[in-house]
């Protein structure tokens, strides 16, 4: 969406536009830079095993960041994703271990596929609660999702009294085995979670670019009033982005529980901040209307590789936080500089044209 005008201005090359092109590709350049840096500085960094491991880490944040990107493009924010991760993990763990007790002497056990569907539905439902609070009750997105952050986390802790659901292997006679596939399984040599990421990312990028819903997401973020007058169903668009964000969080909850074969109620704390960081690093504008799925994925990779690489180099986790923060700030500063340069280049072109 936002790179259409980019092509137009790149076509007419001048000094300004070369710099501009570099600035636009900044997240990609940053990605290559961290890759090169760590492949020199950290031994074994480029080994296949390490790259796959890192991708699995990055995938978790990338899911959340994709959901977050759509929300931010509409001009909102979703602080509840970390808690949804925790709650959905607990839902999955509970269903594997306990099933649903019908209180009449029977207990229903679901197979793993059904458990996954139910968990995703829970995530979407919490997203819908966010959406309803924001569209129907006019609660500011920051406040609505902050409230849901606490509620969902509290429910996750209540579900087990704060304990972990351990050992989610399941029982063959109940048909609840195989939960580990999502986290540990492989298809064609790549982890299942990576495949899911690819599918969701391609779907989300397609949605953003080639569907009316995607176009409407950008329009709502760019100018909500104009979108409304143009007949865009603004409330439906907002409902969708929060439900999609909830869906992404549920996927992450499933994957983490599956990787650990256990559900811990505190899982996902402060994940929302990493997701926002990845989206912003990837060029999503907090004021709405701008952002791409591709950029966000690259942003998630930059953050993920940075932290894993620093761990491999033995940098203290305190310094890691400082470095991560600086990277985010620099990214936003460059983003602002690019905006200014862009408008100057546009003005110059117009002045030349007439």
């Amino acid at each position: 969406m936002t790179d259409i005008p980019a092509k137009a201005s790149v076509a007419s090359t001048s000094n300004g536009s070369v710099l501009l092109t570099l600035m636009k590709a900044r997240t990609f350049i940053a990605l290559i830079a961290v890759l090169i840096f760590f492949s020199i500085a950290a031994p074994n960094f480029l080994s296949a095993a390490n790259l796959i491991l890192m991708s699995k880490h990055v995938a978790l944040n990338a899911f959340l960041a994709m959901g977050m990107t759509f929300v931010i493009i509409t001009g909102g924010i979703d602080l509840s994703v970390g808690s949804i991760v925790g709650l959905c993990g607990m839902v999955a763990g509970y269903l594997v271990l306990n099933g649903i007790d019908l209180q009449v002497g029977y207990t229903i056990y679901f197979n793993v596929f059904e458990i996954a569907l139910i968990t995703l539905a829970v995530g979407i439902l919490i997203g819908a609660v966010n959406g309803l609070l924001i569209t129907r009750l006019n609660v500011a997105p920051f406040i609505a999702t902050l409230g849901v952050l606490y509620v969902a986390r509290g429910l996750a802790l209540l579900s087990s009294d704060g304990r972990t659901f351990p050992n989610l292997v399941g029982k063959p006679d109940l048909g609840t085995t195989g939960f580990g596939f999502l986290g540990a399984g492989r298809l064609l040599g790549l982890p299942v979670s990576i495949w899911i990421l690819v599918v969701v990312a391609v779907g989300a990028a397609y949605l953003a670019k080639y569907t009316p819903l995607g176009r409407h997401i950008f329009a709502v973020g760019g100018n909500e009033r104009a979108a409304r007058i143009s007949g865009v169903r603004v409330n439906m668009v907002k409902m969708f982005v929060y439900m999609f964000s909830g869906f992404c969080a549920a996927v992450v909850g499933l994957i983490i529980s599956s990787e650990l074969m256990a559900s811990h109620p505190a899982t996902g704390e402060s994940f929302e901040l990493n997701a926002i960081a990845a989206a912003v690093l990837g060029g999503t504008s907090m004021s709405g209307g701008r952002g791409t799925i591709g950029g966000t994925i690259v942003g998630a990779f930059v953050i993920g590789i940075l932290s894993d690489g620093l761990v491999m180099m033995g940098v203290s986790s305190f310094w890691q936080m400082v470095i991560k923060g600086l990277v985010i700030i620099v990214a936003v500063v460059v983003d602002q500089a690019q905006r200014r340069l862009q408008s100057r280049v546009t003005l110059m072109q117009m002045a030349k044209a007439g």
Binding site: I4, R215, A219, G222, N223, R225, S230, G231, R233, M350
Partner: protein, 518 residues
């Protein structure tokens, strides 16, 4: 320049230009402001009057040129600078804080404080009451600004400017929302200020007002100053000639086609105001296919609100609308667009365009479903429709992917119109379609309106420009205070009758009226 110089020149602009992205608003203007006199500035919409005044008031900085205050070169980096030099301004768009009281607004940024830096509200309200008393507006200083009528808000804005004790007071269309009685009071205040040696810069569209109170007149056209004279040496003809120039306004002549069957009818549309009363008061009207129905009225008369009701933007509005004889039961904008209604809103930036999207995305925003198969937007079909619309409306763009914010005002307006047309409307609602666009684009817009009406569209168009409504409409409706106060055939409409109808319902005594609204 033949003006006699018996009034001392207080402020002088020399060769001032102002360029915005996409438009040159003011070109090498020379302008003098004389002490103890009313310096009138006149010109069409978009001629650059407001920009020129914002430069004097420090809101905008000139791209080129010098400002001389009593012979000394000055530059204002903010309106605060200008206020410190004794320059005050009444803005056309109200610059008030709705959430604060009248007194707090009047003393905003120069609050009266006591020894402990605490705001002395009582003193502020007492002093505010003095200023308001002079304006006889019946406004209490402790009322919230958002609870006031728009005309009253304008009076608060004036009180605020007067309270600055400025040497130069700029008034940008101060009467556009005032009733005749309120205008009289304002003129008394102006005469009083003049007697105290204040230099007043007065901008208005209403020629009769200008001739009555002006001492000097300056005419702007397309950002250039085309005439400067003493008011007593000029007449209406002279002003109009300077404003319009040799190339008379191109309104696109009626083509003599006869309107068809009724395409649209509104019955008993009402919209309650938050502060009580009705913003749209039992309005009924009907429109035939191929007819242009002009709706004339002052600012705040309820024209935009009527359009909003028709588009289904207010859930609490009442009344029924019919399209081609069939009742429209849909109450939301999305489905009303599908039924064949389309709105071109008054405020292009805030309601018309998504400025960070491309021209193409803006054009097709309201009609995406036309280009969709299953859920996929067909790029080829979309581009084809965009290219055709760009050609039909003569939109000047480098390419469909150009960002819409980089276009000039006129081309942006054409994009908004194109967006509405792509939905395939039967009835087009145009709210001030010519506001803030250059002469050429205006002519294009008017030609497009003619062509659409020939193609059988019904067009409702709201304007506060008398010439426009007289020249373009087949019939003219007049609104005032939310009510429909007149309906004229073009043949029988006169400027005087329209103006009279547009002032109906603005009670002769402002005090009475404010009671009615309490």
């Amino acid at each position: 320049m033949t003006a006699a110089t018996d009034h001392h020149v207080l402020l002088k602009l020399e060769d001032v230009s102002k360029v915005y992205s996409g438009t040159v608003a003011v070109k090498r203007a020379n302008f003098e402001v004389r002490k103890g006199a009313v310096n009138v500035l006149v010109g069409e919409n978009g001629a650059g009057k407001s920009t020129l005044m914002k430069i004097i008031a420090g809101v905008e900085q000139p791209t080129l040129g010098r400002i001389l205050l009593e012979g000394e070169e000055v530059s204002f980096s903010s309106s605060g600078d200008a206020v410190n030099r004794g320059i005050g301004m009444v803005f056309q768009e109200l610059n008030l804080f709705g959430n604060l009281s009248v007194a707090e607004n009047i003393f905003a940024t120069r609050e009266i404080t006591n020894r402990f830096r605490k705001i002395d509200s009582r003193e502020q309200e007492r002093r505010a009451a003095e200023f308001l008393e002079r304006l006889q507006a019946g406004i209490r200083p402790d009322m919230l600004v958002e609870d006031l009528r728009i005309g009253q808000q304008q009076l608060v804005e004036i009180a605020k400017a007067v309270s600055l004790d400025a040497r130069i007071l700029i008034m940008d269309e101060p009467t556009s929302a005032l009733s005749a009685a309120e205008v009289e009071i304002l003129f008394k205040v102006i005469a009083d200020l003049k007697a105290r040696g204040v230099a007043i810069v007065y901008i208005s569209h209403r020629l009769e007002e200008l001739i009555r109170i002006g001492d000097y007149i300056t005419v702007l056209r397309d950002g250039r100053i085309t005439g400067q004279e003493r008011m007593k040496n000029v007449d209406t003809q002279w002003i109009v000639r300077q404003m319009i120039g040799s190339d008379a306004k191109d309104f696109a002549k009626p083509d003599g086609h006869v309107p068809g069957e009724e395409i649209f009818r509104a019955e008993d549309i009402c919209l309650p105001r938050v502060t009580g009363g009705l913003a749209v008061d039992h309005v009924s009207l009907s429109l035939r296919a191929g007819e242009i129905l002009g709706i004339y009225g002052l600012m705040g008369a309820g024209r935009s609100e009527l359009f909003d009701c028709i588009m289904g933007r207010h859930g609490h509005a009442t009344g029924v609308i019919f399209i081609a004889g069939k009742k429209v039961r849909e109450r939301d904008t999305t489905r009303r667009i599908r039924r064949g209604l389309a709105l071109i809103p008054e405020d292009r930036q805030r309601e018309g365009l998504v400025s960070i999207l491309s021209v193409a995305s803006n054009l097709t925003l309201a009609s995406l479903s036309r280009f969709v198969r299953l859920f996929h937007i067909s790029g080829a079909k979309e581009i084809q429709a965009v290219t055709q619309m760009v050609r039909e409306l003569a939109i000047k763009v480098a390419g469909p992917a150009q960002e819409v914010s980089s276009l000039s005002g006129g081309n942006q307006q054409k994009v908004v119109i194109g967006k509405a047309l792509l939905t395939g409307p039967k009835v087009l609602l145009m709210d001030e379609p010519s506001r803030g666009i250059d002469v050429g684009a205006k002519a294009d817009v008017f030609r497009t309106m003619r062509k659409l009406s020939r193609d059988g569209l019904g067009i409702l168009f709201a304007t506060s420009d008398l010439d426009e409504v007289m020249a373009l409409s087949d019939r003219i409706a007049v609104m005032s205070n939310g009510k429909l106060t007149g309906m004229f055939d073009r043949a029988e409409a006169t400027e005087a009758s329209l103006v009279a109808a547009s002032a109906l319902g603005h009670g002769p005594v402002p005090h009475m009226e404010s009671h009615a609204h309490d």
